[in-house]
């Protein structure tokens, strides 16, 4: 019989299985229409926003002509509305991206456990650590590609309409993407610890902690209150995503707008007026890695 002629299956390696699970997660995102819904809605959002900027550009040009000027300087204060508009646009990208990273990943492990899909998968020669790592990898690829694409669409569109390019767009987008990697890692960790619903709520609260930290720091430095500044630092340590955004926003503002911010002594919880500390970037990387390792460890010990 042909059965006996075929070999016994070789146990696949950790790396191979990780990639296989990551591939499954990517296909799942495509097949469950996650990708298409995201692309359509994002197209609508970016189009809407860019149309606003297009009208803004027209208004500013008209004002320059009315004032009898030949044109506007791209780096001057006259262009500040465009700078703000692009920075706010990127803030929306960061916020929506964080939201979408949590929502897409919230059930990465728990949903499969809850609906019973996990049992037959775990009975295969795949280690649970490889499974968690593969899930994280797959969702990180989806989330990071998505935010990178939206960022490129928004900044590229603004450039085409107004000719404005932020001073350092790549570091800015890089910091936003790092925040997405951290959020995805923490959401995967939560997905091995809690039910899907509890995890979603938990990660949003964490996100809120980061945002609260940013506000406390801002008020603290504005009001010169060391206690508030310390509280803000603690919050940034617990959830560095908001600090990463503030660091990204620094790279999105040109010198003229940054000077405005400094004059206001940084009294702006949405835009940062100084670059992010290197230590905090390293900590964010470490946090993402620790979260995934903790998830791998936790899931390996769980009864299914």
């Amino acid at each position: 019989m042909s059965d006996s002629a075929l070999s016994t299956p070789q146990t696949p390696s950790f790396g191979r299985n990780t990639l296989l699970i990551a591939e499954l997660s990517l296909r799942e995102a495509v097949r469950k229409r996650l990708v298409i819904v995201l692309l359509v809605l994002t197209g609508a959002f970016v189009g809407f926003y860019l149309y606003g900027i297009f009208r803004l550009e027209g208004t500013l040009d008209q004002r320059a002509i009315d004032a009898g000027l030949d044109g506007r300087s791209i780096s001057g204060l006259a262009n500040a509305p465009i700078v703000y508009a692009s920075a706010f646009g990127m803030y929306l990208v960061f916020f929506l991206g964080s939201l979408m990273a949590v929502l897409s990943t919230v059930g990465a492990v728990s949903a499969d456990v809850e609906n019973g899909v996990m049992q037959s998968v775990i009975a295969r020669p795949v280690t649970r650590a490889a499974l968690v790592l593969g899930r994280w990898l797959g969702f990180t690829i989806v989330n990071v590609s998505y935010i990178a694409l939206v960022s490129a669409a928004l900044l590229g569109g603004i450039y085409l309409i107004t000719g404005f390019v932020p001073p350092a767009p790549l570091p800015a987008v890089g910091l936003i993407l790092l925040a997405i990697v951290v959020i995805t890692g923490l959401t995967v960790l939560g997905s091995t610890l809690f039910s899907t619903l509890a995890n979603g709520i938990g990660v949003f609260v964490l996100y809120g902690v980061g945002f609260a930290g940013g506000i406390l720091s801002t008020i603290g430095s504005f009001a010169d209150s060391p206690t508030l500044v310390t509280l803000g630092k603690v919050a940034n340590f617990v959830m560095p995503t908001n600090a990463l955004w503030l660091g990204a926003s620094y790279h999105l503002q040109n010198a003229a707008v940054l000077q405005l911010g400094e004059m206001a002594r940084g009294a702006n919880p949405i835009f940062g007026s100084e670059p992010i500390a290197v230590g905090l970037v390293l900590w964010a990387c470490a946090l993402a890695i620790l979260a995934v390792l903790a998830a791998m460890w936790r899931f390996s010990r769980k009864d299914l």
């Binding site: 075929l6 016994t8 299956p9 146990t11 296989l20 899909v117 049992q119 998968v121 009975a123 020669p125």
Partner: protein, 326 residues
């Protein structure tokens, strides 16, 4: 680590296996052996710890105590799991996949090569009666078709040991016969099958050996002949049952049950050891002046065994359970 176990090595061996959830022992000192190539029936009432035991044998649940060896190794070792097949009781799979994609995914997880998969997937789909329907999405499958797809997944990677947890729960009578044929086919190929079922007639027809579990312990295990060959249930109906007659009957066989509700007659259920004990029962009835209305030797079946065993050991395990809390 990946070498095939020698045929003398049991497919499954557990010693005093235990699982405690929040101070309650669900599996409480379970000891059983399954030989390679045999079809093993795992029987017990609801909540006896059957599914938890299967999960421990597959490495899904970590035992609280005791030993477990599957195919000569530990189920936490992926090399061991690559030689196992499993159809879960709740056969839920990724509904966005087609049956072929589902099998391809599981085959790749199990380490099958792409060319093997191309040959193997249509083969197993045909075996479980889903030939030609592999390109359909699992989301559109009926419950019975999903269970068949799960069965295809369980036998896909040529396992040496297959766990089937209530494999016919969603199937019609034709499907049940087909599953029995699949199990017999596996046995013919030397594959051990661990069948978790409470459809006793099904187990009776296909299993070489069975184990009865209750409250997480094996009450009895052995071949069908071993378990039932030494007992012959007999029903006796007499006009009236006097204590001396009952004593006389109890000397011949084991009185399992008496029914004196009816004014006209009394019924007695006995287990005797030998065929020759049946006429002896008639003699005893006559000797005590009672009139014999019926004397019915019955064919022993699993259901009798099951009911007797489960009813006979109501509280036997509770002291142990308490001990497990400490």
């Amino acid at each position: 680590m990946t070498q095939r176990p020698s045929s003398s090595l049991p497919a499954i061996e557990t010693r005093e296996l235990q699982k405690v959830y929040r101070g309650r022992a669900v599996v409480d000192g379970l000891t059983l052996t399954v030989q390679p190539g045999e079809v093993f029936g795992f029987l017990g009432p609801n909540g006896a710890g059957k599914s938890t035991t299967v999960k421990m044998l597959l490495g899904l649940v970590h035992p609280s105590g005791g030993e477990v060896r599957v195919l000569g190794g530990h189920p936490s070792d992926p090399a061991v799991r690559s030689r196992l097949g499993f159809l879960p009781e709740q056969f839920r799979f990724q509904t966005w996949m087609t049956a072929e994609e589902f099998l391809s995914f599981h085959g790749r997880l199990a380490g099958l090569r792409a060319d093997e998969l191309r040959a193997r997937i249509p083969q197993v789909l045909e075996t479980v009666g889903l030939g030609g329907r592999g390109a359909e999405s699992l989301g559109g499958y009926s419950k019975g078709m999903l269970q068949r797809a799960g069965l295809a997944g369980a036998i896909l990677a040529r396992p040496q040991l297959v766990f089937l947890d209530e494999p016919t729960s969603a199937l019609d009578p034709i499907g049940r016969v087909e599953v029995r044929e699949i199990i017999e086919g596996l046995r013919a190929q030397g594959v051990a099958v661990f069948l978790n079922s409470h459809l006793l007639s099904e187990v009776e027809q296909v299993c070489d050996r069975v184990a009865f579990v209750k409250a997480g312990r094996v009450l009895r295990q052995g071949s069908m002949r071993e378990l039932m060959g030494d007992v012959l249930p007999v029903g006796v109906r007499v006009d009236r049952l006097t204590p001396p007659l009952l004593e006389a009957l109890a000397r011949i066989g084991e009185v399992r049950h008496t029914d004196t509700q009816n004014a006209d007659h009394a019924d007695i259920e006995l287990w005797v050891q030998r065929r020759e004990d049946v006429p002896a029962l008639a003699n005893a009835v006559h000797a005590h002046g009672a009139r014999l209305y019926a004397l019915t030797p019955r064919r022993p079946d699993l259901e009798t065994m099951f009911l007797e065993l489960i009813e006979d050991t109501p509280e036997a395990t509770s002291p142990r359970q308490e001990a497990a809390h400490v």
